[in-house]
Amino acid sequence: MANIKFDKERCKGCCLCVAECPRGNIRMSEILNKTGSIYAEVIDEGDCNGCALCCQMCPDMAIEIEEDEKQTCCEKGSEK
């Protein structure tokens, strides 16, 4: 599970992330944000594996993935 964050106020509703998500885990909202645009949101956070293809494709830098502390500990453990 990845710690993915969508900034709905930055999103302009271009839908490029929706088309790119290999798991079909992103949808567009049914309500508008402050700029009057529909915005992208993750359907199931638990199903996101953090591949970051949506982040790569987003022209507005509205998607960020934060480092998962638990995962980092495990990775560090396996390196040792």
């Binding site: 990845a2 106020e9 930055r10 302009k12 509703g13 271009c14 839908c15 490029l16 088309a19 790119e20 645009s37 953090g50 591949c51 970051a52 293809l53 982040c55 790569q56 494709m57 987003c58 022209p59 507005d60 830098m61 998607i63 960020e64 993935i65 934060e66 480092e67």
Partner: protein, 243 residues
């Protein structure tokens, strides 16, 4: 895995249309500036066109230039301050139309600067007129029947044009229409900046980009247009790489 906005870009929303490729290209430039640790000594030049407000987005020095004259201004900056990293960020109307002379001569002189050339095959800011890079058959507000070979001529291929010049060190054409292309584009942008730091000479990266608003298609159809039509006319790849 972590994915954050680059610190070389200011944390402000951009004015670009939904689905425009400029935001992606600017993020790549910002990430490269971060990774090379050159933000404090980087000076960029902003074009006239959709990216005219570049100084509002980059957290480094940006100078606004007259239409097409960015390479001339960048030449001046680099000659006066040779220890700085100087880049120009230009669109196709800026670099390939009104600025053709500056582009060709700066490349021929082999100035040690980096040019990021965003090619979206149309004049975006002024309302979708034909650009020199508009592909044959493409409809614009000034070629309503599609660009014709006889009347308007074939599209101008900047990388192919500059490849014959001795002063050029590095030329590559990339795209930002798929994540794979975006990652390749970042490598190219990084190399273009690294060449300048290593004093190897003139580097230009042409980036094929989307303009859904002026192509009058949806964002996803614009991505398909780049992948299926533009890449046929403007093949991706390295056109020159002097070691």
């Amino acid at each position: 895995m972590e994915f954050k906005k680059p610190t070389s870009l200011l944390d402000v929303p951009t004015h670009y249309c939904p689905g425009c490729g400029h935001g992606i290209v600017q993020r790549l430039v910002g990430e490269v500036i971060d990774e090379l640790g050159i933000r404090e000594k980087t000076i960029g030049t902003a074009p006239v066109g959709c990216a005219v407000l570049l100084y509002d987005y980059f957290d480094c020095d940006i100078i606004e230039c007259s239409h097409g004259r960015s390479p001339a201004v960048a030449t001046g900056i680099k000659r006066v301050l040779p220890d700085r990293v100087v880049f120009t960020y230009q669109g196709d109307g800026d670099l390939a139309a009104i600025g053709t002379a500056e582009t060709i001569h700066v490349a021929n002189r082999g100035e040690n600067i980096t040019i990021i050339f965003v090619n979206n095959a149309i004049y975006g800011m002024t309302g979708g007129q034909m650009a020199p890079t508009t592909i044959t058959g493409q409809r614009t507000t000034t070629t309503q029947e599609g660009r014709g070979q006889n009347q308007e001529g074939p599209p101008l291929k900047v990388c192919e044009l500059l490849a014959s010049l001795d002063g050029v060190t590095y030329l590559e054409r990339v795209a930002v229409s798929t994540p794979k292309d975006i990652m390749r584009a970042k490598k190219a942008v990084k190399k273009a900046f690294q060449n300048q730091i290593d004093e190897k000479g003139f580097s230009l990266v042409e980036v094929l980009s989307m303009c859904p608003t002026d192509w009058k298609v949806s964002s996803t159809a614009a991505v398909d247009f780049v992948n299926n039509e533009m890449k046929e006319v403007f093949p991706l790849g390295v056109f020159k790489d002097e070691k």
